[in-house]
């Protein structure tokens, strides 16, 4: 938000701030197009769920799928691995270096306990997808009311 501090909304009538406030609204409207998700540790993950399962997707481009370690402890899913930098020889040089590399360990809090032996993981096009079925005991039960 721009200029939200420093003055209260003035009384009706002559208001020297009106144009400025209108400008602020306009700016906020324009800037709201540029909102993006919060900064996260590598790799960024998204979590999807319904009553039956949770699905975690992570963007880990360029990694060997065999080198990703997936473990579940209670309600926490842990992804770890490492992304190796390009092998650059002495006579070669970086013009630009923006990609992240190194070792990572990421813990993800799941919305519910899961059946850890039924978890499936798939890696395609640099995206890891982990399907986690909800623990049977934790699934919501429908209770039918019997009429007397």
């Amino acid at each position: 938000m721009l200029w939200t501090e420093g003055f209260d909304i003035p009384l009706r009538g002559f208001n020297p701030w009106t144009n400025l406030l209108r400008f602020e609204d306009e700016m906020n409207r324009l800037l709201s197009r540029f909102t993006f998700p919060s900064v996260s540790e590598f790799p960024p993950v998204n979590i999807w769920e319904n009553e039956q399962e949770a699905v975690v997707t992570a963007e880990i481009p360029g990694i060997d799928p065999k080198a990703i370690d997936i473990s579940i402890v209670g309600k926490t899913l842990v992804l770890s691995g490492s992304r190796e930098p390009e092998n650059v020889k002495e006579e070669e040089s970086y013009h630009r270096r923006e990609r992240w590399y190194g070792k990572f360990t990421k813990s993800i809090e799941l919305p519910f306990p899961v059946e850890s032996d039924k978890v499936e993981a798939r890696f395609a096009k640099g995206i890891l997808t982990v399907k986690l079925p909800r623990a049977e005991a934790d699934k919501p039960k429908k209770i039918t009311v019997k009429s007397a």
């Binding site: 540029f34 993006f36 998700p37 919060s38 900064v39 996260s40 540790e41 590598f42 790799p43 960024p44 993950v45 998204n46 979590i47 999807w48 769920e49 319904n50 399962e53 699905v55 997707t57 963007e59 880990i60 481009p61 360029g62 990694i63 060997d64 799928p65 390009e86 650059v88 020889k89 006579e91 070669e92 040089s93 970086y94 013009h95 630009r96 270096r97 923006e98 990609r99 992240w100 590399y101 190194g102 990572f104 919305p111 890696f123 096009k125 640099g126 995206i127």
Partner: protein
């Protein structure tokens, strides 16, 4: 070697002046590494969600455009409850000089990474100039 911060964030691509998009998806600017090798320049771009069928590389005059289309493939009956990255297409534009042999550009996509190998033209390769001692 100093470890870089692990914090990552996808950056939206700059919109091209006067060009209107027909797809609703957000466009992101992929992170790239550019490495100058002896005989070539290697460009590596992180484009998770892209494969060889959905990547488009065009070279028009000096403008090299890389574009990757990403299709969302998560089941409909799931609800997004936590989001750290957005899904959208990728685009980034580079200008290249005459030092590149345009006919020899090679592109490969593997595990969501695009690698472009731009061979240097004969003239641009470093030439050693012999210095003769005056006699």
């Amino acid at each position: 070697m100093i470890e870089k911060t692990k914090e990552t964030q996808k950056k939206p691509a700059h919109e091209t002046e006067g060009v209107e998009r027909t797809r609703a998806a957000q466009i992101y600017r992929p992170d790239v590494d550019i490495i100058e090798k002896k005989d070539s320049i290697l460009l590596i771009a992180d484009m998770p969600g892209v494969d060889e069928k959905t990547v488009d590389i065009t070279l028009e005059k000096d403008i090299l455009t890389i574009y990757g289309r990403v299709d969302v493939d998560v089941a409909d009956n799931l609800e997004l409850v936590h989001r750290e990255y957005g899904t959208g297409d990728y685009q980034r534009i580079f200008t290249i000089s005459d030092e590149i042999n345009r006919d020899g550009i090679k592109a490969t996509v593997k595990n969501g990474i695009l690698q472009l190998l731009l061979p240097k033209a004969e003239v641009a390769k470093t030439k050693k100039i012999p210095v003769h001692a005056e006699t």
